[in-house]
Amino acid sequence: MHCGMKLSFLSAILGIPSLALAQPAAQDTQAQIAALQQAVKSAQAASASAQSAGDNAWMLTSAALVLLMTGPGLALFYGGLVRKKNVLGTMMQSFAMMGLVTIIWAVVGYSLAFGPGNLFIGDFQHLFLRGVGLAPNPAYAPTIPEQTFMIYQLMFAIITPALITGAFAERMKFSAMALFLSLWSLIVYCPMAHMVWGVGGLLNASGGHIPSLDFAGGTVVHITSGVSALVTCIYLGKRAGYPYTKMQPHSMVISFIGACLLWVGWFGFNAGSALGSSSLATSAFVNTHFAAAAAAVGWSIAEWIRNGKPTALGAISGAVAGLVAITPASGFVQPMSALAIGFLAGFFCFFMVFIVKGFFGYDDSLDAFGVHGAGGTLGALLTGLFAASVINPVFKDSAGNPLPSGAIDGHWSQMLNQFAGVAIAWSISIVGTLALLFVVDKFVGLRLSPEQEAEGLDLSQHNEEGYDLNS
């Protein structure tokens, strides 16, 4: 009887006429069961392989989009904001990360971030990518090859130190920059990535001791880079002549193109963090776009009120601030929350850049802290406020039913977890960056000589010029 029910169920889903199953002969039935089981198996395999193909296509695309954020996106954005004698040197700082961090990641970085390890850091299990093959790693992404996951995560490891370069623009030696940021990716980035996203990490949203929500890197990428940026620019001191010498951006057009490329690349950054081409990716994609738009409008309104005119630089800075703030929230919140997060980020980062920076007088040259540190912190906290279980049921009870995610959902204590995540990200960034700056300064010397600084990065560090209009 039970067998008959199962058979008719199978025949129904496979579209096989049930008359054929009504044959009384036991042997025939056995054979048919075997055939059906085979058919089910191959159907399952076909559907899994189709999902894998779809997910892998989106994840490889996303990886490429995230690389696009660093080069050319960030390189252009930062390159346009410096004086023209520093344009190539500034772009090279981003590009150097594409080279250096890739090698570090392949050799040891991936293992330190995503190896099993302990609460705080991975281990050496995947040294030289040992065991990281084309089969999926179910602990991270069960439908894509682990190498896809690895290369996707690498793109995050590249852009994070590249973001810091905005704070010390126009005044650090290339050698010191290369050493400092390479070590930084090991000492600060890898542990933070492991704590938040690694299996067994302290802050891992599913299973960590302090489940902190960070969908695409609000703490891991933006707080670490932004806070380290602040520490670096204070440690290094101001640029010669700041704030009395004119240091206006040499090409707003270049910066404009860069910022728009960042916006596009960010779809890979956030929607790709769904680790598949699922409906969650759609949700993150929509939220990302909404927040960027709302923040561009928010910053522009603030600037319009304060200075009488909205600027192009203000609009694109606002968009980036919104993208930063939505990053941790992108896969957890509803679209209207994304608009709110973006709008708030536009105002808040405007305030940090226009008021707070001037008040304290630090020379965060391209506002890496004002946008990424401030926006990342705001976004991480707002994620705890707005996270909704209807979008992403990340917390479940023992029976597998979804529990509320964020404060508005009814889970107020999530705010504490978010605070803890923010505090840990700030702490590791401050301590790690200070230690590295001290060591690199001792061994290599961080700062250009006054003559080199006056000459510019392009000539003094690379023996070339960005623009030679006479040739």
């Binding site: 004119k246 206006q248 600037e303 600027t311 226009f354």
Partner: protein, 112 residues
Amino acid sequence: MLKIEAVLQPSKLDAVKDALLEAGIEGMTILEARGHGRQKGHTEFYRGREYTVDLLPKIKIELVVTDDQKEKALQAIIGAARTGRIGDGKIFISGVDDAIRIRNDERGEAAI
């Protein structure tokens, strides 16, 4: 022979050039310049930081004319370049001792 140097708003260059051609002045040299007179500069804002730009982009034209052409040339320049607002520019006139056409050694007024 006289040399006329005129500092102009860049947007007035084409009008001045056409007016001079119409007045029968055949040659001129143009320089992209920066400077200011009473106009002073303007203020730019980048992320709230204020920059005063006091040297503004200008066009300087230089031409050498015969004494007879002087008034025609001046009227052409003034007529084409004047808006009546501050920043329209200035004209300076000075004497020229000699002129030489490099191609064939022609001298004086024949060379301009």
